[in-house]
């Protein structure tokens, strides 16, 4: 497996080998699916839309609906104005969404199609909405695309129509699974606080089997809610890479104060989320949540010898990896290699600060690729690898226990339904890590060392 990857690291600058990121539009498509009755639209060649739908479908194992401008060579030369106008007309007539969320591609960006003016001149049925985000594939990553689309929702839709801010919180959950969005909503609800979570793919991409297909399932943030987000008391941006831009836009446009937090993975980041809610809303933490936290800490202490001191390589999207690294440190584990494919100095800075505090030295890399991660592991082996499905090649090549967290996970199921965020999610992560390490210990144990109780 990956036999051509040598231990010796040759410095490269010609591109990436085994990328740890993909392009903006898929993130924009995912974000748009988190609006109720929204059809994402890809303004570019058919292949983009097809690839993104395929990849999202493989991860969520649920229908991913999106339309495309179906560019041809002619459109590429003369611009995609006619294609987009035709698409808008056809989408509303045939598929009848309440809102269409257009994202661009590297093709339409290179051409320079001016989306806002095309939208203005398009035939849009009364009461229907069209929004857009620029998502050039040659900037940032899929996380950037997610962030840009969420920001676009605010730019187009958020409004202020009350004098005094309402006692409600906006939560921008970031590029996480519907199971995570569900869990975040549950936590805020237990706190007794009204919330607007946007986007919200729960109930859309984890929709139940009923025997009837509906193109627009019950879930998703309602357009009314997005409008109302301008009236909220505060916005919590969970994960700065995916959520901060939208929160800043809410501040700019609607003067909603912004609090930037980590994705609530692990005990510390979840505590911070709850502390922020307490502070802003003057609420007591209900026993139900305190009990969950207590259970988590109980598990952490009871099982610490399963994972304490183990070395870990972590890769994935920046917000997830930052929070995960913090949690790994809380468990007494040692991050050795921490990498994201998404560019951004903030990633390295934040991880390095955490490591410094913990007195640990590690390789920290933004805009890296998995070839590099593999070589780093060859030079400094680890006990455990945590990342998305693409890590399985490295795990096999180096015979490493492997825990799948992040996007995309294409070779295992159910992950999108269950949270990794909150206290419950943290318990689940311990279960995954412990099981992976203990399975390995069992596999490698001599008969005389094979234990019944561990």
């Amino acid at each position: 497996m990956l036999d051509s990857t040598s231990k010796q690291i040759v410095k490269r600058s010609g591109g990436v080998i085994n990328p740890a990121k993909t392009c903006q539009p898929i993130g924009a498509m995912y974000a748009a699916l988190g609006i109720h009755k929204c059809l994402p639209h890809s303004h570019g060649s058919q292949g983009c839309c097809s690839y993104h739908r395929m990849h999202l479908t493989r991860h969520f194992r649920d229908p991913i609906m999106a339309s495309t401008s179906s560019f041809t060579e002619g459109a590429s030369v003369f611009g995609g104005v006619a294609n987009l106008k035709t698409a808008i007309k056809n989408v509303f007539t045939i598929y009848d969404p309440d809102i269409m969320a257009i994202h661009t591609t590297c093709l339409s960006e290179t051409i320079g199609d001016d989306i806002p003016s095309i939208i203005k001149s398009a035939e849009i049925p009364e009461g229907k909405l069209v929004i857009h985000a620029n998502t050039p594939s040659y900037v940032g990553s899929h996380v950037t695309g997610f962030s840009n689309m969420v920001k676009g929702m605010i730019t187009y839709l958020a409004e202020v129509d009350v004098e005094e801010k309402k006692q409600q919180v906006n939560v921008i959950p970031g590029f996480v699974n519907p199971g995570d969005m569900r869990e975040i909503k549950r936590i805020v609800k237990i706190m007794g606080i009204d919330s607007i979570v946007l986007p919200d793919t729960s109930g859309v991409l984890d929709a139940p089997m009923t025997g009837e297909y509906t193109m627009y399932p019950r879930g998703g943030t309602k357009i009314e809610e997005i409008k109302d987000s301008g009236n909220s008391l505060v916005t919590l941006a969970l994960g700065s890479f995916a959520s901060s831009d939208a929160a800043k836009e809410l501040k700019r446009k609607c003067n909603v104060p912004e609090v930037s937090l980590k994705t609530p993975i692990g005990v510390k980041a979840t505590d911070e989320l709850i502390m922020s809610l307490i502070k802003k809303f003057n609420k007591e933490v209900p026993y139900e949540l305190e009990e969950e936290r207590g259970q988590l800490v109980d598990i952490m202490t009871d099982t610490h010898f399963h994972f304490h001191g183990k070395t870990v390589a972590i890769f994935g999207d920046p917000d997830i990896v930052i929070a995960l690294t913090e949690y790994i440190l809380s468990l007494g584990m040692i991050p050795v290699h921490v990498l994201t494919g998404t560019p951004g100095g903030a990633f390295e800075k934040e991880i390095k600060a955490m490591l410094l505090e913990a007195g640990i030295r590690a390789n920290v890399k933004a805009a890296g690729d998995l070839m590099e991660l593999h070589q780093l592991i060859k030079n400094k082996p680890v006990d455990l690898l945590i990342g998305n499905t693409y890590g399985k090649y490295i795990a096999r090549a180096e015979d490493l226990p492997f825990v799948r967290i992040g996007f995309p996970i294409l070779d295992r199921s159910v992950h999108s339904y269950l949270p990794v965020v909150g206290y419950k999610g943290a318990m689940r992560i311990i279960e995954m890590i412990s099981n992976a390490l203990l399975e390995r210990a069992d596999r490698d144990a001599a008969d005389e060392d094979f234990e019944l109780v561990m």
Binding site: M1, L2, D3, S4, S13, G14, G15, V16, I17, N18, P19, T22, C23, P25, I26, G44, S45, Q46, G47, S50, Y51, H52, M54, H55, T57, P63, I64, M65, S67, T68, S70, F71, T72, E73, A75, S76, N83, L84, T86, A87, I88, K89, N90, T93, I94, Y95, T105, C106, L107, T110, P136, S137, Y138, M209, T210, G211, E212, Y213, M371, Y393
Partner: protein
């Protein structure tokens, strides 16, 4: 339930007028009395329509070029296109030397904004240099993505310069996603370059053994090619190269030595098949190794072509042995599947190929179609002279080859050829429509709206398609079978493949999970005694 023209009209009435006029030409209800029926294909998908189609890049790098295992395939563009075509198609490959198999790697120049503004040629050249230094491949491919064509990066020039620097072939594929109307344009672009630059570059002048063949348009999804080769080798054939499943650059270079070319997927590779015949005099035979009957027929046709009694006898022996082994198993599965109906909508050949296998299990295909086929895949190759080329197809250059003065050799005499053509599909493909029964529906470039509507009316028991519509259909409570990726199962080709398919389809029908869709409280009134009382009072 069948469908008639009136019902079809009703479905299409939901469309805006222009869309309706367009889509009507892509849908045919089979009417044998009418004789040859025309269908529109290989034309643009209308913007806004939720199509299953992909792009030229997907057809070129993703389908035809990507499976060549001993080459490094560099994608020149922003990261996405390389990323999505990395490991997702299930074209399996193994190499004796694992350092000569690069299929688990993904190479992207990861173009950034500055590359778009100032050009990406330097970065691409750098990438090629680094790949040569680290991976030492025998050859490299470079595939273009959408923005590359627009900013004017000259892939051919970069490749040529790199060939000089490194002394290996560097193939440039100008397969920008916007070219043509679907993946099909990319197949054609790939065929042209492989024919022009690779096939015939090898030193072999003669086949090393009797009955040397190439298998064209077989991509070894789920190990299909391995099962086909098992049977062929058993009979006594020598497989020179497979295009391109588990295929290699080294073998492909010597494809000119084969005595016969088999064509499995007509759409993606018929260009090379035709050019091999013109250039080297090697005829091609349309085969179909999906389903037991079709596999047997293909094996017999091959034996007929070579005409050697010993080969014919060995063919019959293998057929007898294989069928004796699997028929009892198939009979068991048939009991489960018998009487059911299917939709079969796949890329460019499987929409046709799988109908026979379904039929062997007692499943009737009542609607079928292709994602990116041309009219000849539906109506047969006789229609080719009548197909008008439009602006989109004209943009894909045709490669014109001439007989190779040194290597052209008639493999069989003209008389024998003419005689064989009457009996076997030598140099011919009769298309999907002629195999479909009266009243059955043929849909080109089936889209989401039509999928829903046809399912409502025709209520198939199983829907064979791809990942994008799989869960749409399953949400309706209807099992869906991916025939691009086989739902991560397979092989489905040949004798063992037929059994595996039968097992998987039966599993889809018999899974107890379908029984839980309706909660018990929705099935019957919970307190029926009381309701009677209330009514009485």
């Amino acid at each position: 339930m069948a469908i008639d023209e009136k019902m079809l009209e009703q479905i299409l009435n939901k469309y805006p007028a222009k869309v309706k006029r367009n889509r009507k030409k892509h849908i045919v209800i089979r009417d044998i009395e009418k004789g040859a029926q025309e269908i529109e294909a290989n034309t643009r998908t209308i913007p806004g329509i939720i199509t299953n189609r992909g792009c030229a890049f997907a057809g070129c790098k993703g389908v035809v070029v990507g499976p060549l295992k001993d080459m490094v395939h560099i994608v020149h563009g922003p990261v996405g296109c390389a990323y999505y075509s990395w490991g997702t198609r299930r074209n399996k490959a193994k190499s004796e030397n694992p350092k000569e198999n690069f299929l688990n790697y993904c190479f992207s120049t990861d173009m950034q904004e500055s590359d778009i503004v100032f050009g990406g040629e330097k970065k691409l050249a750098k990438m090629i240099d680094e790949v040569v230094e680290i991976f030492h491949p025998k050859a490299i491919s470079v595939s273009a993505t959408c923005p590359v064509g627009l900013i004017g990066d000259d892939l051919v020039a970069v490749a040529k310069a790199a060939e000089k620097r490194h002394g290996i072939q560097v193939l440039a594929f100008n397969c920008e996603g916007y070219k043509g109307v679907s993946q099909s344009a990319g197949h054609h672009i790939a065929n042209n370059i492989l024919m022009e630059k690779v096939i015939g570059a090898g030193n072999l002048e003669e086949a090393p053994s009797k009955y040397s063949i190439n298998i064209l348009g077989e991509y070894n999804i789920g190990g299909d090619s391995w099962e086909i080769e098992r049977v062929l080798k058993d009979i006594g054939y020598h497989v020179v190269t497979v295009m391109t499943g588990d295929g290699s650059y080294e073998e492909l270079k010597n494809a000119h030595i084969a005595e016969l070319n088999l064509v499995q997927c007509h759409r993606s590779i018929n260009y090379i098949a035709e050019m091999l015949e013109i250039k080297y005099g090697t005829p091609w035979l349309k085969v179909n190794f999906i389903g037991i009957e079709n596999t047997i027929k293909s094996l017999r046709n091959m034996a007929q072509y070579f005409g050697d009694p010993e080969l014919i006898q060995k063919t019959e022996e293998v057929i007898a042995r294989e069928t004796a082994r699997i028929e009892p198993v198939m009979a068991q599965y048939k009991k489960i599947c018998e009487g059911k109906t299917a939709f079969c909508f796949v890329g460019g050949s499987r929409g046709h190929h799988y109908q026979g296998l379904f039929a062997e299990l007692g499943v009737e295909t009542i609607l079928a179609g292709y994602e990116f086929a041309h009219r000849d895949d539906y109506e047969g190759r006789d229609i080719i002279p009548e197909i008008k080329s439009d602006a989109d197809s004209k943009n894909i250059p045709d490669l014109h080859v001439t007989p190779d003065q040194r290597r052209y050799r008639l493999k069989i005499s003209d008389e024998k050829m003419a005689e064989l053509k009457k009996r076997i599909p030598l140099g011919n493909y009769k298309g999907m429509i002629s195999d479909m029964k009266d009243g059955h529906v043929i849909v080109d470039d089936l889209n989401h709206f039509e999928t829903e509507e046809f399912i409502k009316i025709l209520k198939p028991d199983i829907f064979a398609s791809g990942i994008k519509d799989k869960y749409v259909v399953q949400k309706m409570g209807i099992p869906s079978k991916q025939l691009h990726s086989y739902d991560y199962s397979g092989p489905y080709a040949g004798f063992n493949g037929a059994v595996k398919f039968a097992e998987d389809i039966s599993m889809a029908f018999t899974s107890p999970t379908w029984n839980f869709i309706t909660p018990p409280w929705k099935n019957k009134p919970l307190l029926d005694g009381k309701i009677v009382d209330e009514e009485a009072s």
